[in-house]
Subunit: 313 residues, 2 copies
Amino acid sequence: MAETSFRAKAKETILEIQKKITESLEAIEGAPFLHDSWERQDHNGHGQANVLQNGRVFEKGGVNVTELELPLSPPLAKYMTDRGKNIDLARISDYKIYATGCSLVIHPRNPNCPTVHANYRYLEITLSGEVQVWWFAGGSDLTPYYLDEADCTLFHTELKNACDFASPDFYPQYKTECDNYFMITHRGFRRGIGGIFFDDVDCLDKEILREFIAKCGDAFVRSYPEIIRKHMDEPFTKEQRRWQKIRRGHYVEFNLVYDRGTKFGLVTPDANIEAVLMPCPLAARWEYKHNIAPGSPEERLMAALATPRDWVI
Amino acid sequence: MAETSFRAKAKETILEIQKKITESLEAIEGAPFLHDSWERQDHNGHGQANVLQNGRVFEKGGVNVTELELPLSPPLAKYMTDRGKNIDLARISDYKIYATGCSLVIHPRNPNCPTVHANYRYLEITLSGEVQVWWFAGGSDLTPYYLDEADCTLFHTELKNACDFASPDFYPQYKTECDNYFMITHRGFRRGIGGIFFDDVDCLDKEILREFIAKCGDAFVRSYPEIIRKHMDEPFTKEQRRWQKIRRGHYVEFNLVYDRGTKFGLVTPDANIEAVLMPCPLAARWEYKHNIAPGSPEERLMAALATPRDWVI
């Protein structure tokens, strides 16, 4: 019963994050996102996608929440035991997995504005209705098209503050995990300039971790909108827009080839494919042997993608 | 020695296919492709990419040949034994794999012109220089944006004629393999309207199979250029171009998520990434919940992608 009430609280936190972030972006766009509710065909889950497409500031973006509770199917059980979760396979039909999360990707129109991705999740495995394990997961990372060091520092500093609320160990560890996770191995550089990335977090009191997740959401609201307002009216050229589309091609490559969530979504029966592929940009471009001029702003960005930096001063 | 001279003949056939196909496309474009030679850093392979980008008729295309001979590394040996090739692992350092092939993807500008993909390959596994197994592989498939039944019939009929030269069993079998291979499972439809797809073909005299591969190349030259000439000057709307880019997004999804050759290329150390990703289109688009109007030409195409048809009358 105490567990049930924590689940309700975690869900409320996730919904609050979605609300705050959506409102912060709607205020910049000057128009509401489309609020699109959906339900799984088996009624085991539902969600709300807050989506904007072809906006004035935001070319494509979604701030989505999902809540689901599914029986632990054998492949899902294997996935969980492979990840170190303790499951008694003899009683598999008594297990369920519960997840509530908010995930977002925002692709602005102006190439001087970075793309951003974040997610905030709470999960439980229950046995006959009793919580066996619970954990938080999530992260937040920035993908600029042109490097503005002050933006990177602001973004990372707010994340560090959120992390430090829970533990001084969180930021260094989750920053490194983020730099490792978003590697586009076949190209030898990262998707963006990082942020934080964490999974299976249950090392502290769950109430503290719930507040940590809420503070991660606040970190987004305190940094990304400011970064967008700074650049959204800057002039840009056709060539910069072309570069943005090439980089968005790299974004697609990471998501389709490496991203665990996307891969999981693509093999999940009856998954909401529109939600799984929502992070793909409105426009992407692949050029044969695109050259980056030595000393150009594009080359400056690529150096930061090749070698992670410390952004917090 | 006889084996060595067959390898040279197979290679000549592959180069001849590249030459014929490139010339047939250059004649339509009215301009030469860029002929871009490359060599592996370890000198174990080389190739020539005939590439066109931002052309008048062809938005992006490449007709590439590769020739390589590599020591059979343990992962490659495993890949081959998994595929039923007989390898004495105790003598692994005496094995080599040889491959010569031509592969192409052409994305025309006009949405009334279909995209096409094809490849033609000859492979050998040698032990101390002696050929242990050899096989042919390849295929050819069409990806229209709007369905023109006559185009599909011409394309398939020429492929059937090439197949029938070798065996009446080839076309029905390889047509079905193609329909199965190009499935975009997460979307529930195929990349295109098919063609033929074959691998590990060693069931006939190798000289007959070499001629079969040559005839597959001829089938391309006798069908695709005619299809392009028919549609290349047809007017098209912005909406049709938008649809073409959405479908090119599906093309990217297939290649990055499912295509064996692409996946193999992405995990191969020192692979030529420009060549591996050459099939990606110059422009692709992902829209959230794009709707297809009932009774529209777009819906007519989607029906053909959902359910394979017999195109040869």
